[in-house]
Amino acid sequence: MEGVARVPQWRANLATIAALMARSRNELARVPGAAIPGLLAPTIFFLGLNGVFGALIQLRGFEANAYESFLVPVSMLQGAGFTGAASGVNLARDIEQGWTDRLLVSPAPRWVLLAGNVLGAGTRALLPATFVLLIALALGASWPGVAGLLVTYAMVVAMAAVAACWGSALALRFESQSAAPLMQAGTMALILFTPAYAPLTLLQPWLRSVAEANPVTEVLEAARQGFVGGVDWAGTWPGLLALLGLLAVLGAWALREMRRTAR
Protein backbone atom coordinates (compact mmCIF):
# COMPACT_ATOMS: atom_id res chain seq x y z
CA MET A 1 0.00 0.00 0.00
CA GLU A 2 1.39 3.39 -0.93
CA GLY A 3 2.11 5.86 1.83
CA VAL A 4 2.66 3.22 4.45
CA ALA A 5 6.30 2.53 5.27
CA ARG A 6 6.99 -1.19 5.39
CA VAL A 7 8.74 -2.31 8.56
CA PRO A 8 11.67 -4.57 7.72
CA GLN A 9 11.01 -8.18 8.76
CA TRP A 10 13.97 -8.29 11.13
CA ARG A 11 12.76 -5.23 12.97
CA ALA A 12 9.27 -6.66 13.30
CA ASN A 13 10.76 -9.89 14.63
CA LEU A 14 12.88 -8.03 17.17
CA ALA A 15 9.89 -5.97 18.27
CA THR A 16 7.82 -9.15 18.75
CA ILE A 17 10.58 -10.82 20.77
CA ALA A 18 10.96 -7.68 22.90
CA ALA A 19 7.19 -7.55 23.49
CA LEU A 20 7.07 -11.20 24.55
CA MET A 21 10.07 -10.70 26.83
CA ALA A 22 8.37 -7.66 28.36
CA ARG A 23 5.24 -9.75 28.94
CA SER A 24 7.36 -12.36 30.67
CA ARG A 25 8.96 -9.67 32.86
CA ASN A 26 5.58 -8.09 33.60
CA GLU A 27 4.44 -11.36 35.12
CA LEU A 28 6.98 -10.78 37.88
CA ALA A 29 5.35 -7.46 38.74
CA ARG A 30 1.77 -8.67 38.25
CA VAL A 31 2.12 -12.00 40.04
CA PRO A 32 5.02 -11.58 42.50
CA GLY A 33 3.92 -14.77 44.28
CA ALA A 34 4.71 -16.77 41.17
CA ALA A 35 8.36 -15.70 41.35
CA ILE A 36 8.74 -16.74 44.98
CA PRO A 37 9.16 -20.50 44.41
CA GLY A 38 11.82 -19.83 41.76
CA LEU A 39 13.55 -17.49 44.17
CA LEU A 40 13.05 -19.50 47.34
CA ALA A 41 13.71 -23.03 46.10
CA PRO A 42 17.36 -22.52 45.05
CA THR A 43 17.99 -20.41 48.15
CA ILE A 44 16.56 -23.07 50.44
CA PHE A 45 18.56 -25.74 48.64
CA PHE A 46 21.70 -23.63 48.99
CA LEU A 47 21.24 -22.95 52.70
CA GLY A 48 20.00 -26.46 53.43
CA LEU A 49 22.69 -28.32 51.51
CA ASN A 50 25.37 -26.06 52.94
CA GLY A 51 24.18 -26.76 56.48
CA VAL A 52 23.80 -30.47 55.84
CA PHE A 53 26.71 -31.39 53.58
CA GLY A 54 29.17 -28.63 54.55
CA ALA A 55 31.39 -31.16 56.32
CA LEU A 56 32.15 -32.83 52.99
CA ILE A 57 34.86 -30.25 52.51
CA GLN A 58 36.94 -32.18 55.08
CA LEU A 59 37.24 -35.08 52.63
CA ARG A 60 40.63 -35.57 50.98
CA GLY A 61 40.43 -34.43 47.35
CA PHE A 62 37.99 -31.60 48.00
CA GLU A 63 39.70 -28.59 46.47
CA ALA A 64 37.72 -25.57 47.64
CA ASN A 65 38.26 -23.27 50.57
CA ALA A 66 34.59 -23.15 51.53
CA TYR A 67 31.59 -25.34 50.71
CA GLU A 68 29.55 -22.18 50.07
CA SER A 69 31.90 -21.32 47.20
CA PHE A 70 31.64 -24.81 45.78
CA LEU A 71 27.86 -24.90 46.04
CA VAL A 72 26.75 -21.41 44.99
CA PRO A 73 27.11 -21.94 41.19
CA VAL A 74 24.95 -25.08 41.51
CA SER A 75 22.21 -23.09 43.22
CA MET A 76 22.47 -20.28 40.66
CA LEU A 77 22.09 -22.82 37.84
CA GLN A 78 19.27 -24.48 39.76
CA GLY A 79 17.49 -21.13 39.94
CA ALA A 80 17.97 -20.85 36.18
CA GLY A 81 16.54 -24.34 35.75
CA PHE A 82 13.47 -23.57 37.87
CA THR A 83 12.92 -20.29 36.00
CA GLY A 84 13.22 -21.99 32.62
CA ALA A 85 10.86 -24.78 33.64
CA ALA A 86 8.42 -22.16 34.96
CA SER A 87 8.35 -20.50 31.55
CA GLY A 88 7.28 -23.89 30.17
CA VAL A 89 4.48 -24.03 32.75
CA ASN A 90 3.43 -20.50 31.79
CA LEU A 91 3.35 -21.51 28.13
CA ALA A 92 1.20 -24.54 29.01
CA ARG A 93 -1.18 -22.19 30.86
CA ASP A 94 -1.26 -19.89 27.80
CA ILE A 95 -2.09 -22.89 25.62
CA GLU A 96 -4.88 -23.98 27.98
CA GLN A 97 -6.33 -20.46 28.02
CA GLY A 98 -6.14 -20.01 24.24
CA TRP A 99 -3.58 -17.19 24.26
CA THR A 100 -1.04 -19.24 22.30
CA ASP A 101 -3.63 -19.98 19.58
CA ARG A 102 -3.97 -16.26 19.03
CA LEU A 103 -0.20 -15.87 18.79
CA LEU A 104 0.00 -18.73 16.31
CA VAL A 105 -2.42 -17.04 13.89
CA SER A 106 -0.32 -13.87 13.93
CA PRO A 107 2.14 -13.33 11.08
CA ALA A 108 5.12 -13.66 13.45
CA PRO A 109 7.43 -16.58 12.56
CA ARG A 110 7.30 -19.55 14.96
CA TRP A 111 10.93 -19.17 15.99
CA VAL A 112 10.25 -15.59 17.04
CA LEU A 113 7.42 -16.71 19.34
CA LEU A 114 9.69 -19.34 20.85
CA ALA A 115 12.59 -16.91 21.18
CA GLY A 116 10.42 -14.46 23.10
CA ASN A 117 9.60 -17.13 25.69
CA VAL A 118 13.15 -18.49 25.89
CA LEU A 119 14.92 -15.14 26.12
CA GLY A 120 12.35 -13.97 28.66
CA ALA A 121 13.35 -16.90 30.87
CA GLY A 122 17.02 -15.99 30.39
CA THR A 123 16.53 -12.48 31.74
CA ARG A 124 14.23 -13.61 34.57
CA ALA A 125 16.89 -16.06 35.74
CA LEU A 126 19.10 -13.12 36.75
CA LEU A 127 16.84 -12.47 39.75
CA PRO A 128 17.19 -15.81 41.62
CA ALA A 129 20.86 -16.05 40.62
CA THR A 130 21.64 -12.65 42.11
CA PHE A 131 19.60 -13.38 45.23
CA VAL A 132 21.43 -16.65 45.92
CA LEU A 133 24.79 -15.08 45.10
CA LEU A 134 24.27 -12.25 47.60
CA ILE A 135 23.30 -14.71 50.32
CA ALA A 136 26.31 -16.91 49.55
CA LEU A 137 28.69 -13.94 49.61
CA ALA A 138 27.21 -12.85 52.93
CA LEU A 139 27.84 -16.33 54.31
CA GLY A 140 31.48 -16.33 53.24
CA ALA A 141 31.62 -17.61 49.65
CA SER A 142 34.69 -16.41 47.74
CA TRP A 143 34.33 -13.39 45.48
CA PRO A 144 34.69 -14.86 41.96
CA GLY A 145 36.18 -11.72 40.38
CA VAL A 146 34.61 -9.76 37.54
CA ALA A 147 35.59 -12.32 34.87
CA GLY A 148 34.35 -15.19 37.03
CA LEU A 149 31.08 -13.40 37.67
CA LEU A 150 30.53 -12.65 33.99
CA VAL A 151 31.17 -16.28 33.02
CA THR A 152 28.82 -17.51 35.76
CA TYR A 153 26.03 -15.14 34.72
CA ALA A 154 26.48 -16.10 31.05
CA MET A 155 26.11 -19.76 32.02
CA VAL A 156 23.05 -18.97 34.17
CA VAL A 157 21.26 -17.03 31.41
CA ALA A 158 22.02 -19.69 28.78
CA MET A 159 21.03 -22.51 31.15
CA ALA A 160 17.67 -20.81 31.75
CA ALA A 161 17.23 -20.64 27.98
CA VAL A 162 18.02 -24.37 27.70
CA ALA A 163 15.51 -25.18 30.47
CA ALA A 164 12.93 -22.92 28.78
CA CYS A 165 13.39 -24.82 25.48
CA TRP A 166 12.85 -28.09 27.36
CA GLY A 167 9.81 -26.73 29.22
CA SER A 168 8.35 -25.18 26.04
CA ALA A 169 8.77 -28.39 24.06
CA LEU A 170 6.94 -30.35 26.78
CA ALA A 171 4.25 -27.68 27.11
CA LEU A 172 3.62 -27.79 23.37
CA ARG A 173 3.67 -31.58 23.31
CA PHE A 174 1.27 -32.15 26.26
CA GLU A 175 -0.65 -28.83 26.02
CA SER A 176 -1.32 -29.06 29.76
CA GLN A 177 0.11 -27.70 33.01
CA SER A 178 0.00 -31.29 34.25
CA ALA A 179 3.35 -31.72 32.51
CA ALA A 180 4.93 -29.30 35.02
CA PRO A 181 6.55 -32.04 37.19
CA LEU A 182 8.25 -33.45 34.10
CA MET A 183 9.59 -30.01 33.20
CA GLN A 184 10.96 -29.45 36.70
CA ALA A 185 12.26 -32.99 37.22
CA GLY A 186 14.05 -32.90 33.85
CA THR A 187 15.95 -29.69 34.59
CA MET A 188 16.64 -30.76 38.16
CA ALA A 189 18.15 -34.05 36.96
CA LEU A 190 20.18 -32.32 34.27
CA ILE A 191 21.71 -29.88 36.77
CA LEU A 192 22.18 -32.23 39.73
CA PHE A 193 23.52 -35.33 37.94
CA THR A 194 26.84 -33.47 37.82
CA PRO A 195 29.62 -32.84 40.36
CA ALA A 196 27.05 -30.69 42.18
CA TYR A 197 27.75 -31.84 45.76
CA ALA A 198 31.36 -32.99 45.46
CA PRO A 199 34.18 -33.01 42.88
CA LEU A 200 34.09 -35.70 40.19
CA THR A 201 36.77 -37.76 41.91
CA LEU A 202 34.66 -38.07 45.07
CA LEU A 203 31.42 -39.09 43.37
CA GLN A 204 30.25 -42.69 43.47
CA PRO A 205 31.43 -44.49 40.31
CA TRP A 206 27.96 -44.67 38.74
CA LEU A 207 27.29 -40.97 39.25
CA ARG A 208 30.80 -40.11 38.02
CA SER A 209 30.03 -41.94 34.74
CA VAL A 210 26.69 -40.14 34.41
CA ALA A 211 28.28 -36.77 35.24
CA GLU A 212 31.07 -37.29 32.72
CA ALA A 213 28.49 -37.94 30.01
CA ASN A 214 26.21 -35.07 31.11
CA PRO A 215 27.00 -31.88 29.14
CA VAL A 216 25.83 -29.73 32.06
CA THR A 217 28.91 -30.87 34.00
CA GLU A 218 30.97 -28.65 31.66
CA VAL A 219 28.52 -25.80 32.23
CA LEU A 220 28.78 -26.18 36.00
CA GLU A 221 32.58 -26.43 35.94
CA ALA A 222 32.74 -23.25 33.85
CA ALA A 223 30.34 -21.42 36.17
CA ARG A 224 32.29 -22.63 39.22
CA GLN A 225 35.77 -21.56 38.03
CA GLY A 226 35.83 -18.11 39.61
CA PHE A 227 34.55 -19.36 42.96
CA VAL A 228 37.15 -22.09 43.45
CA GLY A 229 40.14 -20.81 41.45
CA GLY A 230 41.03 -18.78 38.39
CA VAL A 231 39.05 -18.24 35.22
CA ASP A 232 40.56 -19.21 31.87
CA TRP A 233 39.40 -19.92 28.36
CA ALA A 234 40.21 -23.63 28.65
CA GLY A 235 37.73 -23.90 31.51
CA THR A 236 35.11 -21.80 29.77
CA TRP A 237 34.76 -22.97 26.16
CA PRO A 238 33.57 -26.53 26.96
CA GLY A 239 30.70 -25.02 28.93
CA LEU A 240 29.80 -22.66 26.10
CA LEU A 241 29.96 -25.50 23.59
CA ALA A 242 27.75 -27.70 25.78
CA LEU A 243 25.18 -24.92 26.08
CA LEU A 244 25.20 -24.27 22.34
CA GLY A 245 24.66 -27.98 21.69
CA LEU A 246 21.82 -28.20 24.22
CA LEU A 247 20.20 -25.04 22.84
CA ALA A 248 20.43 -26.37 19.28
CA VAL A 249 18.91 -29.76 20.12
CA LEU A 250 16.20 -28.62 22.56
CA GLY A 251 15.45 -25.45 20.58
CA ALA A 252 14.93 -27.51 17.41
CA TRP A 253 12.65 -29.88 19.33
CA ALA A 254 10.60 -27.01 20.79
CA LEU A 255 10.29 -25.41 17.36
CA ARG A 256 9.15 -28.69 15.85
CA GLU A 257 6.50 -29.02 18.58
CA MET A 258 5.36 -25.46 17.94
CA ARG A 259 4.95 -26.16 14.21
CA ARG A 260 3.03 -29.35 15.05
CA THR A 261 0.76 -27.42 17.44
CA ALA A 262 0.13 -24.79 14.78
CA ARG A 263 -0.87 -27.51 12.28
Binding site: G48, A55, L59, Y197
Partner: protein, 261 residues
Protein backbone atom coordinates in the same frame (compact mmCIF):
# COMPACT_ATOMS: atom_id res chain seq x y z
CA UNK B 1 -25.26 -51.26 60.04
CA UNK B 2 -23.71 -49.67 63.14
CA UNK B 3 -22.64 -46.05 63.11
CA UNK B 4 -19.01 -47.10 63.48
CA UNK B 5 -19.15 -49.39 60.45
CA UNK B 6 -20.93 -46.70 58.44
CA UNK B 7 -18.28 -44.13 59.32
CA UNK B 8 -15.52 -46.62 58.50
CA UNK B 9 -17.06 -47.09 55.04
CA UNK B 10 -17.11 -43.32 54.49
CA UNK B 11 -13.48 -43.00 55.58
CA UNK B 12 -12.48 -45.90 53.34
CA UNK B 13 -14.33 -44.50 50.31
CA UNK B 14 -12.86 -41.03 50.76
CA UNK B 15 -9.40 -42.50 51.40
CA UNK B 16 -9.58 -44.54 48.20
CA UNK B 17 -10.72 -41.47 46.30
CA UNK B 18 -7.77 -39.53 47.68
CA UNK B 19 -5.27 -42.20 46.58
CA UNK B 20 -6.82 -42.51 43.11
CA UNK B 21 -6.81 -38.72 42.75
CA UNK B 22 -3.07 -38.65 43.49
CA UNK B 23 -2.32 -41.38 40.96
CA UNK B 24 -4.41 -39.59 38.32
CA UNK B 25 -2.68 -36.23 38.71
CA UNK B 26 1.04 -36.23 37.93
CA UNK B 27 1.48 -32.88 39.72
CA UNK B 28 0.42 -34.57 42.98
CA UNK B 29 2.33 -37.81 42.41
CA UNK B 30 5.66 -36.31 41.31
CA UNK B 31 6.56 -34.71 44.65
CA UNK B 32 5.79 -37.95 46.49
CA UNK B 33 7.77 -40.36 44.33
CA UNK B 34 9.74 -38.72 41.52
CA UNK B 35 11.51 -35.88 43.38
CA UNK B 36 12.51 -37.86 46.50
CA UNK B 37 13.78 -40.71 44.31
CA UNK B 38 15.78 -38.32 42.16
CA UNK B 39 17.24 -36.61 45.21
CA UNK B 40 18.01 -39.95 46.83
CA UNK B 41 20.01 -40.96 43.74
CA UNK B 42 21.79 -37.62 43.50
CA UNK B 43 22.63 -37.34 47.20
CA UNK B 44 23.72 -40.96 47.49
CA UNK B 45 25.94 -40.69 44.44
CA UNK B 46 27.15 -37.18 45.18
CA UNK B 47 27.75 -37.28 48.90
CA UNK B 48 28.35 -41.03 49.31
CA UNK B 49 31.95 -40.46 50.38
CA UNK B 50 30.59 -38.81 53.53
CA UNK B 51 30.62 -42.21 55.27
CA UNK B 52 34.43 -41.81 55.44
CA UNK B 53 34.12 -38.69 57.59
CA UNK B 54 35.18 -39.12 61.21
CA UNK B 55 32.08 -39.21 63.38
CA UNK B 56 29.79 -40.71 60.74
CA UNK B 57 27.75 -43.50 62.35
CA UNK B 58 28.67 -47.03 61.28
CA UNK B 59 26.53 -47.90 58.25
CA UNK B 60 26.73 -50.44 55.46
CA UNK B 61 26.44 -47.66 52.84
CA UNK B 62 25.29 -44.07 52.46
CA UNK B 63 22.20 -45.37 50.64
CA UNK B 64 21.27 -47.35 53.75
CA UNK B 65 21.63 -44.17 55.83
CA UNK B 66 19.64 -42.05 53.35
CA UNK B 67 16.60 -44.32 53.01
CA UNK B 68 14.94 -42.85 56.11
CA UNK B 69 15.53 -39.31 54.78
CA UNK B 70 13.97 -40.17 51.42
CA UNK B 71 10.92 -41.72 53.12
CA UNK B 72 10.61 -38.67 55.34
CA UNK B 73 10.77 -36.31 52.38
CA UNK B 74 8.19 -38.36 50.53
CA UNK B 75 5.73 -38.49 53.43
CA UNK B 76 6.09 -34.77 54.14
CA UNK B 77 5.30 -34.02 50.51
CA UNK B 78 2.42 -36.53 50.61
CA UNK B 79 0.99 -34.53 53.52
CA UNK B 80 1.41 -31.33 51.53
CA UNK B 81 -0.17 -32.89 48.42
CA UNK B 82 -3.07 -34.14 50.54
CA UNK B 83 -3.59 -30.59 51.79
CA UNK B 84 -3.52 -29.24 48.23
CA UNK B 85 -6.08 -31.83 47.08
CA UNK B 86 -8.36 -30.99 50.03
CA UNK B 87 -8.07 -27.28 49.22
CA UNK B 88 -8.97 -28.01 45.58
CA UNK B 89 -12.04 -29.93 46.82
CA UNK B 90 -12.98 -26.90 48.94
CA UNK B 91 -12.47 -24.50 46.03
CA UNK B 92 -14.60 -26.65 43.75
CA UNK B 93 -17.39 -27.07 46.30
CA UNK B 94 -16.99 -30.84 46.67
CA UNK B 95 -16.33 -30.56 50.41
CA UNK B 96 -19.39 -28.35 50.87
CA UNK B 97 -21.51 -31.12 49.34
CA UNK B 98 -19.93 -33.58 51.77
CA UNK B 99 -20.73 -31.24 54.68
CA UNK B 100 -24.42 -31.40 53.75
CA UNK B 101 -24.36 -35.22 53.59
CA UNK B 102 -25.46 -37.19 56.68
CA UNK B 103 -21.91 -38.15 57.66
CA UNK B 104 -19.84 -36.87 60.58
CA UNK B 105 -17.48 -33.99 59.73
CA UNK B 106 -14.50 -35.75 61.26
CA UNK B 107 -14.99 -38.63 58.80
CA UNK B 108 -14.46 -36.22 55.91
CA UNK B 109 -11.07 -35.12 57.24
CA UNK B 110 -10.19 -38.63 58.39
CA UNK B 111 -10.91 -39.93 54.88
CA UNK B 112 -8.37 -37.52 53.43
CA UNK B 113 -5.85 -38.49 56.13
CA UNK B 114 -6.43 -42.19 55.44
CA UNK B 115 -5.51 -41.50 51.82
CA UNK B 116 -2.35 -39.67 52.90
CA UNK B 117 -1.46 -42.56 55.21
CA UNK B 118 -1.92 -45.01 52.33
CA UNK B 119 0.44 -42.90 50.23
CA UNK B 120 2.95 -42.92 53.09
CA UNK B 121 2.68 -46.70 53.22
CA UNK B 122 3.28 -46.93 49.47
CA UNK B 123 6.23 -44.53 49.73
CA UNK B 124 7.85 -46.56 52.51
CA UNK B 125 7.50 -49.77 50.48
CA UNK B 126 8.83 -48.02 47.37
CA UNK B 127 11.97 -46.76 49.12
CA UNK B 128 12.58 -50.05 50.94
CA UNK B 129 12.34 -51.81 47.57
CA UNK B 130 14.73 -49.31 45.97
CA UNK B 131 17.16 -49.74 48.87
CA UNK B 132 17.09 -53.52 48.65
CA UNK B 133 17.36 -53.41 44.86
CA UNK B 134 20.52 -51.29 45.05
CA UNK B 135 22.17 -53.33 47.77
CA UNK B 136 21.16 -51.64 51.04
CA UNK B 137 20.51 -54.06 53.91
CA UNK B 138 17.76 -53.69 56.48
CA UNK B 139 19.85 -54.42 59.56
CA UNK B 140 16.96 -55.50 61.79
CA UNK B 141 15.41 -57.64 59.07
CA UNK B 142 11.68 -57.97 58.46
CA UNK B 143 10.77 -56.71 61.93
CA UNK B 144 12.88 -53.60 61.35
CA UNK B 145 11.29 -53.03 57.95
CA UNK B 146 7.82 -53.32 59.48
CA UNK B 147 8.73 -50.79 62.19
CA UNK B 148 9.97 -48.37 59.54
CA UNK B 149 6.81 -48.86 57.44
CA UNK B 150 4.59 -48.31 60.49
CA UNK B 151 6.40 -45.14 61.53
CA UNK B 152 6.33 -43.70 58.00
CA UNK B 153 2.61 -44.44 57.60
CA UNK B 154 1.75 -42.94 60.99
CA UNK B 155 3.88 -39.85 60.34
CA UNK B 156 2.27 -39.35 56.91
CA UNK B 157 -1.12 -39.29 58.61
CA UNK B 158 0.15 -36.94 61.32
CA UNK B 159 1.73 -34.51 58.86
CA UNK B 160 -1.36 -34.79 56.64
CA UNK B 161 -3.37 -33.48 59.61
CA UNK B 162 -1.41 -30.24 59.57
CA UNK B 163 -1.80 -29.96 55.77
CA UNK B 164 -5.55 -30.56 56.15
CA UNK B 165 -5.82 -27.94 58.88
CA UNK B 166 -4.15 -25.32 56.67
CA UNK B 167 -6.35 -26.30 53.72
CA UNK B 168 -9.50 -26.06 55.87
CA UNK B 169 -8.46 -22.74 57.32
CA UNK B 170 -7.43 -21.04 54.06
CA UNK B 171 -9.49 -22.98 51.50
CA UNK B 172 -6.84 -22.07 48.95
CA UNK B 173 -4.77 -24.62 47.02
CA UNK B 174 -2.15 -22.03 46.12
CA UNK B 175 -1.57 -21.15 49.79
CA UNK B 176 -1.06 -24.83 50.67
CA UNK B 177 1.17 -25.26 47.61
CA UNK B 178 3.18 -22.28 48.82
CA UNK B 179 4.14 -24.33 51.87
CA UNK B 180 6.24 -26.62 49.67
CA UNK B 181 9.48 -24.64 50.29
CA UNK B 182 8.72 -24.64 54.02
CA UNK B 183 8.55 -28.44 53.95
CA UNK B 184 12.06 -28.47 52.47
CA UNK B 185 13.32 -26.06 55.13
CA UNK B 186 11.96 -28.24 57.94
CA UNK B 187 13.55 -31.30 56.35
CA UNK B 188 16.95 -29.69 55.87
CA UNK B 189 16.85 -28.56 59.49
CA UNK B 190 16.47 -32.14 60.69
CA UNK B 191 18.73 -35.17 60.61
CA UNK B 192 16.93 -36.51 57.52
CA UNK B 193 19.99 -36.23 55.29
CA UNK B 194 23.06 -36.18 57.54
CA UNK B 195 24.09 -37.11 61.09
CA UNK B 196 23.49 -34.31 63.58
CA UNK B 197 27.12 -34.28 64.75
CA UNK B 198 28.40 -33.50 61.26
CA UNK B 199 25.93 -30.76 60.39
CA UNK B 200 27.04 -27.12 60.30
CA UNK B 201 25.70 -24.59 62.82
CA UNK B 202 22.99 -23.33 63.20
CA UNK B 203 21.43 -26.29 61.36
CA UNK B 204 22.92 -28.71 63.92
CA UNK B 205 21.32 -27.04 66.95
CA UNK B 206 17.95 -26.67 65.24
CA UNK B 207 18.07 -30.32 64.11
CA UNK B 208 18.71 -31.41 67.70
CA UNK B 209 15.32 -29.98 68.76
CA UNK B 210 13.34 -30.58 65.55
CA UNK B 211 10.65 -33.23 66.27
CA UNK B 212 11.17 -34.60 62.76
CA UNK B 213 14.72 -35.57 63.74
CA UNK B 214 13.28 -37.90 66.40
CA UNK B 215 10.93 -39.42 63.84
CA UNK B 216 13.63 -39.85 61.22
CA UNK B 217 16.01 -41.43 63.72
CA UNK B 218 13.23 -43.82 64.71
CA UNK B 219 12.76 -44.83 61.08
CA UNK B 220 16.50 -45.04 60.42
CA UNK B 221 17.42 -46.99 63.55
CA UNK B 222 16.06 -50.41 62.50
CA UNK B 223 17.48 -49.93 58.99
CA UNK B 224 21.07 -49.30 60.07
CA UNK B 225 21.28 -51.02 63.49
CA UNK B 226 19.50 -53.24 66.00
CA UNK B 227 16.15 -51.88 67.18
CA UNK B 228 16.66 -49.41 70.01
CA UNK B 229 13.58 -49.11 72.25
CA UNK B 230 14.55 -45.62 73.36
CA UNK B 231 14.77 -44.24 69.81
CA UNK B 232 11.52 -45.97 68.89
CA UNK B 233 9.75 -44.46 71.89
CA UNK B 234 11.07 -40.98 71.06
CA UNK B 235 9.80 -41.38 67.48
CA UNK B 236 6.35 -42.51 68.65
CA UNK B 237 6.13 -39.60 71.10
CA UNK B 238 7.15 -37.13 68.40
CA UNK B 239 4.50 -38.56 66.04
CA UNK B 240 1.91 -38.37 68.84
CA UNK B 241 2.83 -34.70 69.31
CA UNK B 242 2.39 -33.98 65.58
CA UNK B 243 -0.94 -35.88 65.58
CA UNK B 244 -2.18 -33.85 68.55
CA UNK B 245 -1.15 -30.59 66.88
CA UNK B 246 -2.76 -31.63 63.57
CA UNK B 247 -6.00 -32.70 65.28
CA UNK B 248 -6.25 -29.52 67.32
CA UNK B 249 -5.57 -27.30 64.30
CA UNK B 250 -7.93 -29.30 62.06
CA UNK B 251 -10.77 -29.23 64.58
CA UNK B 252 -10.35 -25.49 65.01
CA UNK B 253 -10.14 -24.86 61.26
CA UNK B 254 -13.19 -27.04 60.64
CA UNK B 255 -15.22 -25.17 63.25
CA UNK B 256 -14.14 -21.88 61.69
CA UNK B 257 -15.10 -23.05 58.20
CA UNK B 258 -18.52 -24.27 59.31
CA UNK B 259 -19.11 -21.01 61.15
CA UNK B 260 -18.10 -18.58 58.41
CA UNK B 261 -18.89 -20.82 55.40
Amino acid sequence: MSALARNARVVRALGMRSVRQTFRRPQLMAPIVVFPTLLLAIQTGGAGSAVELPGFPPVQSFLQFMLAGAMMQSLMLAGNSGGIALAVDLEMGFTDRLFTAPIPRFAIVLGRLAGTAALGLLASLWFLAIGLLFGAEIHSGLAGALIAVFLVTATAMAVGGIGAAIALRTGSASVVQGLFPLVLVILFLSTAFFPEGLMIEPARTIAAYNPLSFVVEGIRNPIIADVDGGELLEAVLAIAGIVALGLALSARALRHRLRVG
